[in-house]
């Protein structure tokens, strides 16, 4: 055997805590959280009324549906899929609560049915995507129309209103008494955020979700049941959509077929701004929460500054485009620099 000298072996170990902290600090999530802080500081400084408890209170109530939906949506997008039917399911759940309440059911029972239907709808999505093997974009564009259609079909464009005050108060009461900033319903979100955060970041299931999004085939070869992972995430999305439908109904005291219409795109936009890759495999819950809050705070601040709804839309779209293009540009420039360095003398011939 011709012997080249035994090559130097660097047997790898985990990087130090310091190095890992550094990676986190310069990571995507940290950037979004930093952006949130900047938005808050600037808005508090220049927009009158922004820093008040009431602003925070309304801000939370307004973004809560997106916050809640963004949690399971993050996991779905991490597995490389997408669910565009969430807002329609919110509408359907809202209508069910209304129709059943009108028919004399109690609110908890009606809510249970709404959640059940959310589960079934999610399972339908999951079944079509995993077992039948259809692209989730197409499937959920279909169920978007289907769920919304059933909602509108059940209630027409009419509305059910006049829900009992004690249930409405569950949603709108403040945690620390009148005038304070935190609505008690936020507790539900905090619990769900912890559940989904832990699920994604600290459990075998979460590892499977990332793996499925990065490479479904290799995951299958590693003994991961990719279909099951995706299926249950669609079910979870349906469940949370059901919950949001109940929230929506009680907050606005109004069950209507068109509730939350168009919200799906806001949810997807927030998740993407929050640093989740549409290709799957990348993204984290803290970044997504910060992403939702950035968009929500920006909207709130602009409204308070009497900026019209239109400019707010432009800001949202711009933020989305910039947030996906910016990292591309940075890595693109880095790669180009590296290539130019490596090529050195062949610089003149370098082409792309």
């Amino acid at each position: 055997m011709t012997t080249t000298a035994e090559p130097v072996r660097v047997t790898p170990t985990a990087p130090s805590i310091l190095a890992r902290t550094k990676t986190i600090l310069f990571g995507r999530d940290a950037a979004v959280i930093g952006l949130l802080i900047v938005v808050w500081l600037v808005a508090t400084a220049i927009v009158p009324n922004f820093g008040r408890p009431n602003t925070v209170y309304y801000l939370i109530l307004d973004v809560l549906p997106i916050l809640l939906l963004a949690l399971p949506m993050t996991l779905v997008v991490v597995t490389g899929e997408i669910d565009l039917s969430v807002a329609s399911m919110v509408g359907l759940s809202s209508v069910l609560v209304g129709v059943l309440y009108q028919a004399g059911w109690s609110i908890p029972l009606a809510a249970l049915v709404a959640i059940g239907v959310g589960l079934i709808g999610g399972a339908l999505n999951g079944f079509l995507v995993t077992t039948v093997g259809l692209p989730s974009l197409a499937v959920t564009v279909g169920t978007l129309a289907l769920f919304r259609g059933i909602a509108v079909g059940l209630l027409g464009t009419g509305a059910v209103t006049g829900f009992p005050g004690e249930y409405k108060d569950l949603v709108t009461d403040r945690l620390f008494g009148p005038g304070t900033a935190i609505p008690q319903i936020l507790v539900v979100f905090v619990v769900l955020a912890v559940v989904f955060g832990v699920l994604l970041h600290f459990t075998p299931f979460g590892r499977s979700a990332y793996a499925s999004g990065l490479n479904a085939e290799a995951s299958h070869f590693s003994g991961i049941d990719v279909h099951a992972v995706k299926f249950w995430l669609f079910v979870a999305t349906g469940l949370v959509s059901g919950l949001v439908g109940i929230y929506w109904t009680l907050r606005y005291d109004s069950a209507r077929g068109d509730n939350a219409q168009g919200l799906e795109l806001s949810v997807v936009a927030a998740v993407l701004v929050g640093g989740v890759s549409i290709f799957g495999g990348r993204g984290a819950i803290p970044g997504v929460i910060a992403g939702v809050l950035v968009i929500g705070s920006l909207h709130s601040a602009l409204r308070l500054a009497d900026v019209s709804a239109d400019a707010i839309n432009i800001a949202t779209g711009g933020l989305l485009v910039v947030s996906v293009i910016f990292p591309r540009i940075v890595t693109g420039i880095r790669r180009r620099i590296a290539r130019i360095r490596r090529r050195g003398s062949r610089l003149g011939l370098a082409s792309d």
């Binding site: 009158p48 009324n49 008040r52 009431n54 602003t55 309304y58 109530l61 307004d62 027409g156 464009t157 009419g158 509305a159 209103t161 006049g162 409405k168 709108t172 005038g179 929506w248 907050r251 606005y252 005291d253 109004s254 209507r256 068109d258 509730n259 939350a260 219409q261 709130s300 409204r303 308070l304 009497d306 019209s308 709804a309 239109d310 839309n313």
Partner: protein, 324 residues
């Protein structure tokens, strides 16, 4: 009525002579509200107040809630709104009123407990009667008619439709209301709905559209179709929108109050509330200036409703006299 004493309202807006009044239309880009809000702006600036118009891009209740919340945080003096939903806005309005903000609804009301006063263009009975009389005259008192409404839960629309049904049953037994469709106060939807209406009811004699967006869209549809002159159309419309169709014979007559007057009256109502001239109780009186009619004295009726007056009928003879 409790006077504002909570932490949010720092000072009584009426106290320093400034009337900080915000108009919240059903949605931005609706010419009917454009007209009334523009007139309101002039009226408010005339009496030394500040005017602001905010609103959602689409006519949804939750969009309005967000804006009511924002106005509450900004501690405006009064909110003047046309509601997209009777009850969905109530919680938000309650909080606004708790913060000392006066709430005036106009054009479309919310539940009476959630606002101080409602400025109604006309009473539902009068409006319903006027339109049914107009269509009956145009179709000869018999045949199938249909209604092209705005959104299905617009309070005013539903009240009128209810009145129309009752009035039809009692006074015009030969006329049958065969369908009510909803154009959502969206031009394109109304247009398409008109078309659908005509294709699904071939024997239709007339359409009543008690909404300015709806009647204009329906008229435009009819004017270019074979139904022109065969299917009658009336309802509530603005002269500028309808002039063309009255001239070309698509429409003989339609009704409306003056939206500018409505905006002006709503502004003065807000002023009267801020001045504490009225509280919304029945029998309170106040004055409004600059209306197209000579009336200046208004009295709060039952349920805190203030009525502008009878709807006005526009036809080929008089339409040239108006510009709004």
């Amino acid at each position: 009525l409790t006077v504002a004493a909570t932490g949010c309202g720092t000072d009584d807006p009426a106290g320093d002579g400034g009337y900080d009044i915000a108009f919240l239309p059903k949605n931005l880009g609706n010419p009917y509200f454009e007209a009334s809000d523009a007139a309101a702006q002039k009226a408010i600036e005339d009496f030394g107040g500040t005017f602001k118009e905010v609103g959602p891009a689409e006519a949804t209740a939750d969009g309005q809630v967000t804006y009511i919340n924002t106005l509450t945080q900004q501690s405006v003096g009064a909110i003047v709104l046309s509601a997209n939903d009777t009850s969905a806005l109530c919680d938000a309005l309650d909080e606004a009123r708790e913060a000392g903000i006066k709430v005036v609804t106009f054009d479309s009301d919310v539940d009476p407990e959630c606002r101080d006063v409602y400025v109604s263009a006309s009473s539902p009975e009068l409006i319903a009667k006027k339109q049914i009389d107009l269509i009956a005259e145009q179709v000869g008192g018999k045949g199938e008619i249909a209604i092209l409404s705005a959104t299905a839960n617009a309070t005013n629309q539903n009240a009128w439709i209810e009145e129309m049904e009752a009035y039809l049953a009692s006074d015009y037994p030969d006329m049958e209301l065969v369908d009510v469709v909803y154009g959502d106060d969206d031009d394109q939807t109304s247009y398409d709905k008109t078309e659908a209406l005509l294709s699904s009811h071939p024997d239709l004699a007339g359409i009543v559209s008690p909404t300015t967006v709806g009647i204009a869209a329906a008229a435009r549809y009819l004017s270019t179709s074979d139904f022109k002159g065969k299917v009658a159309l009336t309802g509530l419309g603005t002269p500028n929108d309808m002039r063309e169709y009255v001239t070309d014979g698509t429409v003989t007559a339609f009704a409306l109050w003056n939206p500018e007057d409505l905006g002006i009256l709503a502004s003065y109502t807000a002023k009267a509330l801020l001045d504490e001239d009225i509280t919304g109780a029945e029998g309170d009186t106040f004055t409004a200036k600059g209306l197209s009619s000579d009336v200046t004295e208004f009295t709060v009726g039952p349920d805190g409703v203030i009525t502008l007056g009878d709807p006005f009928v526009f036809d080929a003879d008089n339409i040239g006299d108006f510009d709004f």
